[in-house]
């Protein structure tokens, strides 16, 4: 006889033997569970499905509790959600694994690195490009200029050098960029104005168009590219051969451009807001900072210096003896550009030591190869003009206590001043944004949006350097994509999931040993990393020719063999990850010991990774109750509980490879070894 009870305030009916979970599902109330699998007897293990009996206040596992007549059950309240969140956080605290490969996590655009590297390994660079462009719309540029956040976090660093990930982008784009065209949905009728044709603005327009929303990109300059064109030097990113080719694609996609339009001058924000459904401010960071010392106006501003070269079509005078003050990437671009303009003597002055330089290590090394001299622990005190020459007074510094950035703070050494002569002094200290009037600004001088978000006010968004401060191209692309997603969701009413995924991580590679890594795939190559070939030293010093060659297909393919494939086999389907994201869990919330890394790849097709097991035992029951083989069992007790085969002999010859245990496993503790 059926009974009636109250579920989330509604009167519902349960058949005899029906659990609260089953009744909830039948009534459209979703209750998360990891350990309930209808094919096997219940396990009552995860307790993620708890509900509350309103009268007694007791929490019940809904997968196992049958309702009593007249019972009042709360399946969605705050207390219930908090209990579920705690259960999930506890499970995350014992979970060992990399939900996503660290390269993908580290990539500001979260490009599916492992997937495009795999496509490349298999020789399918067209597919690789398709995967790359889901996150990186400018793969030719990024494939050349990216500081490679991915490679710095590559697990391969644990033993040897990282996989040369960026070369996959560069090669895939060089091979297939021109012929590849995205599937473009019909335009929805919504229109978005993007101010700024730099990486962020281009990316925003790109992802809007891919979703069927028309975008018009305005820019104050006479060509698109922003920093790509007017900041990054030719020898790192050829403007005609590469950038023009790359940007032509945006026109082919139907994205409109309007050049020579500067917001606040010949472009009105009010007009834009009137004529478009949304406006995105992506004006970048073009205001160079001065040296903050007397005579600073005599110095050339680094960012202006770099911009002047392409504007003058690379016909610029020899700057003579050059001193560049600053230690960032802009400073490196300035010194190396000066070398190429014929300067006989180029120096970089930096107030800390090389270890603290924010510039990429590779850039510093290449600058040095090209003859740039470095002077560390000096700060400018005064700049004067004496008899046609510039005289820079410098003060020696020493490193003191670490400052807020964690770097040791330079401290002046009194009485250590000395003078140096130069023809050109370039200040490459930093950049700021010049936010147009009418756009809300925060106390740092950047567009004011909540952390991580793009929305400034209704219909007004920001992206790129003007939102974040000067950053890299790939960060600009990610920021542009974020603005596009918010617009698609808020303005166009599309069902866009702006990802806030749970990434469980094994930790930084610096703390790992090779035995901490999980090798799902056999035959990970032990070869050394393939190195980029460069043009001859002489050409590097005298021309603006691109310094590096794109690697050949075989080399990159072989490089793909070096990829460990660290991401979780179950990342797309893991229920723990899914519910943890739904419940706003944090893998770092509860800290504590985890089981040592232990995985079993003796089965040719199946991997068992104990660190991901939630000990629900559904696999054990599936093999026993459904398949009638009984190959799995639970061993040990308490925190050390794990699932294993009899005598830990592996699946031996008895396994039929049916995969029912894999199907049943709520996480990636049991999975097929070949990733989809």
């Amino acid at each position: 006889m059926s009974i009636e009870f109250i579920l989330d305030g509604r009167k519902v009916t349960a058949e005899p033997g029906q659990t609260i979970l089953e009744v909830a599902r039948a009534n459209g109330i979703s209750i998360p569970t990891l350990c309930r699998d209808e094919k096997v007897s219940r396990t009552t293990s995860c307790f993620v499905c708890v509900v509350r009996d309103c009268k007694t206040g007791k929490f019940l596992p809904s997968c196992s509790a049958c309702p009593a007549p007249g019972q009042e059950i709360d399946a969605s309240g705050d207390d219930v959600r908090e209990m579920r969140r705690t259960a999930l956080n506890l499970l995350l605290s014992e979970h060992t694994g990399d939900c996503e490969a660290p390269c993908t996590v580290a990539c500001p655009a979260h490009a599916a690195v492992e997937e495009y590297v795999r496509a490349g390994r298999e020789g399918d660079f067209r597919k690789a490009l398709e995967i790359i462009k889901k996150r990186i719309p400018l793969p030719m540029s990024v494939g050349r200029v990216c500081p490679r956040f991915c490679e710095k976090n590559c697990r391969r660093n644990v033993y040897g050098k990282p996989v040369a990930i960026n070369e996959f982008k560069r090669l895939a784009a060089d091979l297939y960029y021109d012929e590849y065209m995205e599937e473009l949905p019909a335009l929805s009728g919504k229109k978005v104005a993007v101010v700024g044709a730099g990486p962020a603005g281009l990316s925003c327009a790109y992802y809007l168009r891919r979703a069927g929303v028309a975008a018009t990109v305005f820019d104050a300059m006479k060509a698109a590219g922003g920093m790509l064109r007017y900041g990054i030097p030719e020898y790192r990113l050829p403007k005609h051969a590469i950038l023009d080719r790359e940007l032509a694609h945006f026109g082919k996609m139907g994205i409109a451009f309007d050049f020579g339009r500067k917001l606040g001058e010949n472009l009105s924000l009010d007009e834009l807001r009137k004529n478009f459904d949304a406006v995105v401010i992506a004006v970048g960071c073009w205001q160079g900072s001065g040296m903050r010392c007397p005579g600073e106006e005599l110095a050339t501003v680094g960012i202006d210096y770099l911009r002047s070269i392409p504007e003058a079509d690379y016909v610029a005078p020899n700057p003579g003896k050059v001193i560049v003050v600053g230690g960032g990437n802009t400073a490196m671009d300035c010194v190396r550009t000066s070398v190429r303009l014929g300067s006989p003597d180029v120096s970089c002055f930096y107030r800390r030591t090389e270890a603290e330089m924010p510039a990429e290590k590779l850039e510093i090394a290449e600058a040095r190869e090209e003859g740039v001299k470095f002077t560390f622990l000096v700060a400018p005190v005064k700049l004067e003009k004496r008899g046609g020459k510039l005289v820079l007074t410098c003060r020696k510094m020493e490193l003191g206590e670490p400052d807020a950035s964690g770097r040791r703070k330079p401290v002046e050494i009194p009485g250590s001043d000395y003078e140096v002569e130069a023809d050109t002094v370039i200040a490459a200290i930093g950049q700021k944004s010049d936010i147009p009037a009418g756009v809300p600004v925060n106390r740092f001088g950047y567009a004011d949006a909540p952390r991580g978000a793009a929305k400034l006010s209704d219909g007004l968004y920001a992206a790129g350097d003007c939102l974040s401060g000067a950053a890299t191209v790939v960060e600009g692309l990610a920021s542009g994509r974020r603005a596009a997603e918010e617009i698609l969701r808020d303005v166009c009413g599309m069902d866009v999931e702006i990802d806030n995924p749970i990434y469980v991580s094994r930790g930084k590679w610096q703390h790992l040993k090779k035995s901490d890594l999980v090798f799902v795939r056999d035959g990970v190559s032990e070869a050394e990393r393939a190195e980029l070939k460069m043009i001859p030293q002489e050409e590097r010093r005298t021309t603006f020719k691109e310094t590096t060659f794109t690697m050949d297909k075989e080399t990159v393919q072989r490089e793909g063999d070096r990829c460990i494939g660290c991401s979780c086999t179950d990342k797309a389907e893991c229920k723990l990850r899914k519910h943890a994201a739904e419940y706003g869990c944090d893998p770092e919330k509860i800290k504590g010991a985890r089981l040592p890394v232990s995985y079993d790849t003796r089965h040719p097709l199946i991997i068992q990774d104990r660190g991901k097991c939630i000990k629900c035992g559904v696999c054990v029951k599936t093999c026993a109750e459904v398949i009638n083989r009984n190959l799995l069992g639970i061993k040990k007790r308490g925190f050390n509980t794990f699932v294993a085969t009899a005598f830990d002999a592996g699946f031996a010859g008895n396994c039929s490879d049916c995969g029912a245990c894999i199907e049943a496993c709520p996480t990636g503790a049991l999975d097929w070894r070949n990733k989809k």
Binding site: R42, T44, K58, L90, E94, F639
Partner: protein, 572 residues
């Protein structure tokens, strides 16, 4: 003066551990025809080995701490004055011996001895009644489960009696796993027939067909005695209950604490992994191999023969409104008279701890009841009567009867850590809250006792503990946070001192303590230097805190008590 009729010597595990078997051998050799009977436990652990000389006039003389020497034995045989044992008068006054009446009085494996002491009278009376009337007698007695839960025994019996099934199972839970608890072991070793009689009465009342004793394998003597007693029952056909015979089976548990939980116990009995399952269905509906099953604790069964013999109403005269009869406690910790005591329900904690246990009123700060899952009750609450409901309101539980007295030289954070060390390792690993939650709480307590705790750690414990209690699958997890939550409630200042000042007022947490030699008292005898296992004491009698492991060897070795534990940073 009367002559010795019989000599009784306690040879339960505790007696044997103190050397009672050697004493018994000498006693037998020199008794010159006086019968020497090995009996069970008298409950005075601190006085083992114990010999009782029963005189012909029925009176008796007790000897305690008997040495295994001819001299000591001859002293007893001549009823000498040396080594006579007097039951502490306060204890005598406050104890109420009912269940333990025959413990230490009868030969555990002598069927006739038990019968001679009115053994099996309860069963005989029960068999003369209708089964329903037997259940009713237990209901009237007000007996509640002695395993800790306190569920009315009669009601449980009535559930099973009402079931119609091909088989009905009765289980005795003898998986006594809590550290410091030995009530059940004592009963089984000392009066195995009494608990078996209780089971047989239960089987008759409920219609049970098969009787299991689930006893931990670490109790070999109890198992031996039970096996002998069972064979005697078969021999005397006492397993014939009316027109049917029941089978009694002993199953030895493999030592998992959680197998004291009834559903885990049943799983283990079935040959499965000993893990609990969600209830309902309750075992009385679907238990061992899906048959209706009832589980009672050893002590509960120990009470049943008394109830049937004397009548439920008579039994109910002892105890309080809600808790009838007596309760056995295994009294341990910081007190003068540790041992097994039997007290009437409703006695206060203070009476047990101070009057019976002889603990030092100026030093006791708390008592832990219910073993590692129980709570700590501060000395200010010692006027609370011991019954199921009062203890619960204090955040403690009656538990199965472990009671540990804690003096002020013990750290409450360390006490909680110790309890969780047991429970988190004894988690079966099945449910999230217990498996991971208890581990995280334990790790946090480890941090605090190592001086690495933070204020947030205290919030974390206070937040997670109640969630584990609310979310865990079985009684293990549902009670395991108790020691932390109770100490946080009553001794929060100790936790705060640990995390804020890195101070352990009890000077117990090694990370916050140094050992120092008081040079005014030191006579430079060098015993400390020799006792130190890590050569931390130099020729000037200074202790190097970097080498010292705070093991206290020197402190114990010092004849002048010149070595002290002092808080870190307070060295002179």
């Amino acid at each position: 003066m009367s002559r010795i009729r019989t000599l009784r010597i306690g040879v339960a595990s505790c007696g044997i551990a103190s050397g009672a078997e050697d004493v018994m051998a000498i006693l037998k050799a020199r008794a010159q025809g006086i019968p020497v009977v090995g009996v069970g436990c008298l409950g005075y652990c601190y006085a083992e080995p114990m010999v009782e000389a029963v005189l012909e006039d029925g009176s008796s003389v007790l000897y305690g701490n008997v040495e295994a020497t001819e001299k000591a034995v001859d002293n007893i045989l001549s009823l000498g004055d040396a080594g006579r044992f007097e039951i502490p008068p306060e204890r005598k006054k406050r104890e109420k011996i009912m269940v333990l009446a025959l413990a230490g009085r009868v030969d555990p494996v002598d069927f006739d001895d038990y019968v001679a002491h009115r053994g099996y009278e309860g069963l005989k009376r029960a068999l003369s009644m209708a089964p329903e009337a037997v259940v009713n007698e237990v209901l009237v007695s007000g007996l509640r489960g002695r395993g800790g839960g306190g569920f009315p025994t009669g009601r449980k019996w009535r559930f099973l009696a009402a079931k119609k099934a091909a088989e009905k199972i009765l289980i005795r839970n003898a998986d006594e796993g809590a550290p410091g608890a030995f009530m059940d072991r004592s009963l089984m070793e000392s009066v195995p027939h009494q608990v078996l009689e209780g089971m047989l009465i239960g089987a008759y009342a409920t219609g049970a067909t098969k009787l299991f004793i689930y006893c931990r394998a670490e109790y070999p003597l109890a198992i031996k005695h039970l096996k002998i007693a069972i064979s005697q029952i078969y021999e005397h056909k006492l397993n014939k209950l009316g027109d049917r015979e029941v089978e009694i089976v002993i199953k030895e548990g493999a030592g998992a604490f959680v197998c004291g939980e009834e559903t885990a116990l049943i799983a283990s009995l079935e040959g499965q992994r000993g893990t609990p399952r969600f209830r309902p269905p309750f075992p009385t509906d679907s238990g061992f191999k899906k048959f209706p099953t009832m589980i009672n604790n050893v002590e509960t069964y120990g009470n049943v023969p008394l109830i049937l013999r004397e009548g439920g109403a008579e039994y109910a005269k002892v105890g309080t409104e809600g808790s009838k009869g007596t309760k056995l406690f295994a009294l341990a910790g910081d007190l003068k008279y540790p041992g097994l005591v039997e007290v009437p329900m409703g006695i206060t904690l203070g009476e047990i701890v101070f009057d019976i246990g002889g603990a030092d009123r100026s030093k006791v700060k708390a008592v832990q009841t219910g073993g590692p899952s129980g709570g700590c009750i501060p000395v200010e609450k010692f006027d609370v009567p011991v019954d199921y409901d009062s203890l619960k309101t204090l955040g403690a539980i009656m538990g199965s009867g472990g009671m540990i007295v804690i003096n002020d030289d013990r750290c409450m954070v360390e006490t909680a850590r110790y309890s969780l060390d047991v429970t988190h390792r004894e988690s079966c690993g099945k449910c999230t809250f217990c498996r991971v939650g208890m581990t995280r709480m334990f790790e946090t307590l480890e941090r605090i006792t190592k001086g690495q705790g933070t204020e947030e750690d205290l919030d974390f414990l206070a937040d997670l503990g109640p969630k584990i209690k609310a979310g865990a699958l079985c009684g293990l997890g549902q009670t395991a946070p108790n020691p932390v939550l109770a100490t946080l409630r009553y001794f929060r200042h100790e936790y705060e001192e640990h995390v804020r000042e890195h101070k352990c007022r009890a000077l117990q947490c090694n990370a916050m303590v140094k050992l120092q030699i008081d040079h005014e008292k030191c006579v430079k005898c060098g015993l400390c230097v020799r006792s130190c296992p890590v050569q931390a004491i130099d020729g000037n009698f200074e202790i190097d805190p970097k080498k010292c492991t705070r093991c206290n060897s020197c402190l114990d070795a010092c004849p002048k008590k010149a070595i002290h534990r002092i808080p870190n940073g307070e060295e002179k």
